[in-house]
Amino acid sequence: MVLERRIAFIHLNKNSVETTPISPDLRKKFLGGRGINMYLLSKCYSPDLDPLSPENPLIFGAGLLTGVLGFGSRMNISAKSPESGYLGDSNMGGDFGAELVKAGLGHLIIKGKSPKPIYILIRNGEVEIRDAQKLWGQDTIETQRIIRQELGDGKIQVASIGLAGENLVRFSAIRTGMKNSAGRTGMGAVMGSKNVKAVAVRGTLDITISDPKNYFKYYLEDINKLMETKWVQALGKYGTPLLFQYANAMGFLSIRNNQLTTIGDQGYALEAEALQPLSTGMLSCFGCPAHCRHRFSIKEGKYKRTKGEGPEYASIGSLGTKLGNIDLQNIIYAAHLCNRYGLDTISTGSYIAWALELFQRGIIDREMTEIPLNWGDGEAILQLIHQISKRRGFGNILAEGAFAKKIFGEASRDYLLDIKNFPIEMTDERLPKSFALGMATSTRGACHMRSRPSLDVLGLPKEVLKKIYGGPVSNRFSSYSGKGRMVWWHEIFNAVSDALGFCRFLTVFSSPHAPQYEQFSKLIALSTGLTFTSKELMIIGERIYTLERLMLVKDGITRKDDTLPKRYFEEPVPEGPAQGEIISRKGFNRMLDEYYRLHGWDKNGIPKMENLKRLGLQG
């Protein structure tokens, strides 16, 4: 049944739905999830496509092995991005992807615009469009609750937008559960522009397995090995907040919009240990052995009676240190507020950080902002989150994201640390050169998750790195040497992993012992009967990544856009453990040359015809 999943084309203008099988050829070329999403998106993508127009397709895609035994059970949501104006794509955990698969569907393409608010209900492959007038205005958690109550089924999985998506905030998310989000690149605004409040799904179909006995046995061996790694053990205990401590200690954290890169001992207040008293247990996404998600409950103080999930490291950095804010409870509350409104916590923090620095430098003032914008003012941050979501006052300007450059004026540009019109996250990449290159080349704008090349931080012997990457890679975090190769390798690997529905945390991310291509091919074969060698999987990853690049090339993206914020090239890190670190243009260009060469792209970053032919992407 894995291979019998269908694609549903939902045309809101015509109020019609068609489902088609996924051809074996498409599966072989793109697997599923992000891979097939990109294939579908590329058919409609053009420079003229307005991201908030009915023509922009909103595509949901479950990974090939989502919903069965694998290394996670995730999905991707893709469209042209209203946040950057370029390629949009966001990966989401939780239980929604698995439920879609149980309902017999692998992908949804939603096109057009409904004249009034609706939600889409899918039950075992049957798609129904239902009225959502009374859901409009509800937050993302209430929306899920109301739909479950209305249909009398607590197992229905819902992906919804909140007020932010309804109000077309450019960085609004699509959300499921308490916290899981397709957060980045503004997919919530695309959904809002179509008057779609939510997609609800319930499935109870059998999933047949090619070789049940060996699949069972092999998977058990795999997860036993995985659970023995230090990385997964720590992740299961602390979740991603454990990374905060590390970034702060090394000096690659964003403080005050990257004016600093560490807060030293003040960081104790935000470390994983500091979260433990508020934590009320751990959670997993569907089918995940690692359980890295944490729940919290605030029992005392200003934010008492707040309960929810998180915060993740990305939110602690983005709504915390990046804004000079070290009030942990305020950060948790702010992240929870973003989740309810359906805002991406990373972009929200980044645009607020930009505004705070503009205020610090007198580029904007109270005439525009009304309230004073000072670093570390938690209450002002909360106020801005409300304003952005409701598009009120100054929040209406910030809701435009990077497009607010036009309103703030020329002097504001360099203080938004963005790449391809998409803001840098909770980190500072002047120290880790592989991360810096990965940010510059990511196909969705500044994003550490497209490549997430972090194995050079572990101080592994060079021979180990050479074996993994197929060529020399320096084991020094701050070295440029071999980092083009490293980013190239991880981009391809992560494209495969996303196409399968796997999680970064359970694959090669921070542990060289975690599953790789070899384990992927074995699981695919045992569950679906499809056979791929490691090399063939890698070619699929290249195909997906190059197809994404081709869409950007249509938009006019070239080498000039694969770059970093001016601050990274011109301002050395002023203090702390990474003091003096900067990106040299020469070192950066060397990495970029190596990277293009390995991808089979020319010096300008355009995929070469011979390579397109090899990947079957010509014409």
């Binding site: 239980d95 059998d206 009320t280 751990m282 959670l283 089918g287 995940c288 052995p289 409950s297 309960k307």
Partner: protein, 122 residues
Amino acid sequence: MRIKVNKDRCSGCHLCEMVCSLFHLRIINTEKSAIRIRKDDLDTSLNTPMLCRQCKKMKCLNEEKGMGVQEKKRFIWNRTRAERCPFNALFVFGEEAFHCDLCGGDPQCVRFCTPGAIQVIK
């Protein structure tokens, strides 16, 4: 032998449900498993794995005298028996109900439960 539940530890991953259907029926369908995670993912309450408690006095078989020993070894039961269970620990899909047969003595769900929310008690 029975399976003891420690709900403080359950992460709500549903691996046990998948594994149960895969082991017994050679398919994956979380609706066709003898263990079920009861959870409210929109709240912060604990997740609860639910499954047959292997009661000595089997109310589920009340009116089926002499069936106990033989039926305990069977996975597929029926709706009537499920409705008799005082703990609502038997799950119905269509007209079938799924009963924990302890996988013939080596419960597979326990092997896959990484947080240790379910364990075998002899």
